[in-house]
């Protein structure tokens, strides 16, 4: 096994666009699930809207890349409103059912051939990089050190991704340490009690749904920035991966989603490299190379179960929170 190569790949995944995208999506989900107690199972739908909004904005409407990004965020905000107004009066578990269905409806709309000229149906969208790359101030060349060697485009994507993530984390941190966040956490605990204190619970929940949804859509945009938009990405399992990253780090924390996504992707890369290498080296004689690739997703599922059972507050969560049975 080429351990140096595996180590290199793993370290590189720390600031990969996928890690940054997951961190943004998990941060949005932290607003929904960790702070507001909204069991949103459709986070993949919000990410898809960001990605498709961005790509369609450039390809169909000829917008500059930043305006297309805003279009993707606006689409997620509108989706949150449409989803929230009828469903936020429902109890938590019903919201989960509705959101998972809504995200699937979205995905199927993007997949259907009816809108092929706009969405590219099963092929997805690509070739929208012109204006984004033209705006790159970094001169051509390869920069970096050790495992972090990227060309100017790679760095431009990562820098923007990190800036977006930093801004989103700052916003969430500010919100949750304010009286507004106090009300939101109160709603998570018992919305009737908060209502009895004169707070408009519905409007808080709707705002939280929009804020979290927009942050998740930025995650979708970052995911789409370097390569292409593929409808096969925004499936229900993406939602569960983001949940794994979130719960790993700690649902009701600001930095938990970031740490969680980082660990998630580094582990994914390590396993994705080590398992096939182990098969090649004859350590896992009972499976093929392809089976080894699938094994890592099985391990993700097991990890999610173990976290929820033994450390539901996540790595960064307050240990005291675990002491109390709800």
């Amino acid at each position: 096994m080429d351990w140096l190569q595996i180590l290199n790949n793993s370290a590189s995944s720390i600031i990969s666009p996928a890690t940054l995208a997951y961190a943004l999506a998990a941060l949005g989900l932290a607003v929904h699930f960790g702070y507001a107690g909204l069991l949103n199972m459709g986070i993949a739908g919000f990410m898809a809207l960001g990605a498709y909004g961005y790509a369609i904005g450039i390809l169909t409407f000829d917008l500059p890349w930043w305006a297309a990004a805003l279009l993707g965020m606006a689409a997620a905000a509108v989706f949150a409103l449409i989803l929230g107004i009828p469903t936020l009066r429902l109890r938590g578990d019903y919201l989960a059912i509705v959101t998972i269905a809504a995200a699937e409806v979205l995905r199927l709309l993007f997949l259907t051939t009816t809108f092929d000229s706009v969405t590219g149906s099963a092929d997805g969208l690509s070739g929208y990089h012109g204006s984004f790359r033209a705006s790159n101030p970094i001169p051509e060349g390869t920069y970096g050190f050790g495992p972090f060697m990227y060309n100017e485009i790679g760095w431009w994507v990562r820098i923007l991704g990190i800036i977006a993530l930093a801004l989103a984390a700052l916003t969430v941190w500010r919100l949750m340490n304010s009286p507004w966040g106090r009300v939101l956490k109160g709603i998570r605990e018992d919305e009737d009690a908060v209502r009895a204190l004169g707070k408009n619970v519905f409007s808080y929940k709707l705002t939280a749904l929009v804020v979290g949804g927009v942050i998740a859509s930025v995650g979708g945009i970052v995911y789409a920035l370097p390569s292409a938009v593929n409808p096969g990405v925004y499936v229900t399992s993406l939602t569960f991966f983001v949940y794994t990253a979130l719960l790993l780090g700690g649902a009701a924390t600001v930095f938990g989603p970031l740490i969680g996504s980082l660990i998630f992707w580094v582990l994914q890369t390590v396993l994705g490299n080590v398992l096939p290498a182990a098969v090649d080296a004859g350590i896992l004689p009972f499976m093929s190379n392809i089976q080894a690739q699938t094994l890592r997703f099985i391990l993700v599922g097991i990890a999610l179960m173990l976290i929820v059972i033994f450390r539901p507050q996540g790595i960064l969560g307050n240990k005291k929170e675990l002491t109390f049975v709800k």
């Binding site: 919100l175 507004w180 009300v183 956490k185 009737d192 209502r195 204190l197 004169g198 707070k199 109390f324």
Partner: protein, 323 residues
């Protein structure tokens, strides 16, 4: 907690609350709530059917009645947590029909719940601060910039500590509310409600599951609310407490108001005795059943009558009633 108890001081009851003879629906000199024809049915069951009811301002009113009489449902209707099938009700001169619960609370009518709702994973102090009204920092855009709300938040915190001190919870301000005992949660819920500076406090069974020493201090707190100019409406099953602090008693049974009056008169009303109190309220069942001597009877009961009553007579009556 035993050192905290101040011996109960007899306080004067507020009188002259009603106009005319005390009967169900009697007019009050200065009503804070006026209910007219409020009906709420659940399927075939009529939970609440109140023709007319006025709650006097600046007094402590107890709402009593057997289980299932519709007391909590009436509470929910008055506070906007439930919508009636028919009827109107007015709070402080403003109609509350169709007004959502959070707006009712903003108008100064705040409630607590029968099953205490402490916000478990918020600290005691956060619970308290949540109660304050009109916070700038609770608006979305302003919340992002602490300089808009920090000063107000500090003032709210000061007020929260004052109230926590009164309720003997100041030592626990940084603990999660989930770590409090049941009785402390009741205190916290009441203190939190007071953070909103209400004019009418509605308490749903504030004493349920609270030990006698704490009951004593809760009673004092409720009497203090009246001294501070608030109106109190509470649901309670503990008749000693009702007698002790209520200025006015409203009795409900099967969704209707069956009697109203000052505590002493109401409890002698045969309709109330039939529907709720039972015929042998003044007896100490321990003496009647011979478990201990008449001399050891509860001082609030009639020891002589208890000694003279035959347990078989009561049991016979009970079995007849259930027929």
């Amino acid at each position: 907690m035993s050192s905290d108890i101040t011996p109960p001081v007899a306080r004067e009851k507020t009188t002259g609350l009603h106009v005319g003879e005390a009967a169900p629906g009697v007019a009050k000199a200065d009503p804070i709530i006026v209910v007219d024809g409020v009906r709420r049915t659940f399927g075939g069951l009529t939970a609440v059917d109140v023709a007319h009811l006025e709650i006097p301002r600046g007094a402590i009113t107890a709402l009593i009645g057997p289980n299932g009489a519709g007391k909590t449902t009436l509470f929910n209707l008055l506070t906007g947590f439930d919508k009636p099938d028919a009827g109107t009700w007015v709070f402080d001169g403003k109609s509350l029909s169709g007004v959502p619960a959070y707006k009712v609370a903003r108008m100064g009518q705040v409630r607590t719940f029968q099953l205490t709702k402490a916000l478990g994973l918020l600290t005691v102090l956060e619970n308290m601060k949540l109660g304050a009204k009109g916070q700038v920092g609770e608006r979305f855009w302003q919340s992002l910039f602490p300089f808009f709300w920090r000063k107000q938040d500090e003032k709210i915190e000061e007020r929260a500590f004052e109230l926590l001190k009164k309720f003997k919870l100041d030592g626990k301000s940084e603990d999660f509310a989930a770590s409090l005992s049941g009785g402390q949660r009741k205190l916290l819920e009441m203190a939190r409600a007071l953070m909103s500076e209400p004019t009418l406090v509605m308490l749903d069974e504030p004493m349920a599951g609270v030990n006698p020493a704490l009951t004593q201090s809760l009673l004092e707190h409720i009497l203090n609310l009246k001294d501070e100019g608030m109106t109190v409406l509470f649901v309670e099953h503990d008749m000693h407490m009702v007698r002790h602090i209520a200025d006015w008693v409203v009795v409900m049974a099967e969704g209707r108001v069956v009697a109203e009056g000052d505590p002493v008169t109401v409890m002698k009303n045969p309709a109330v005795i039939d529907a709720y109190l039972g015929a042998h309220q003044e007896l100490d069942l321990g003496v009647v059943t011979g478990r201990y001597a008449a001399a050891d009877a509860d001082p609030t009961t009639d020891a002589a009558a208890s000694g003279a009553t035959d347990v078989d007579v009561i049991e016979e009556e009970a079995s007849e009633e259930s027929k």
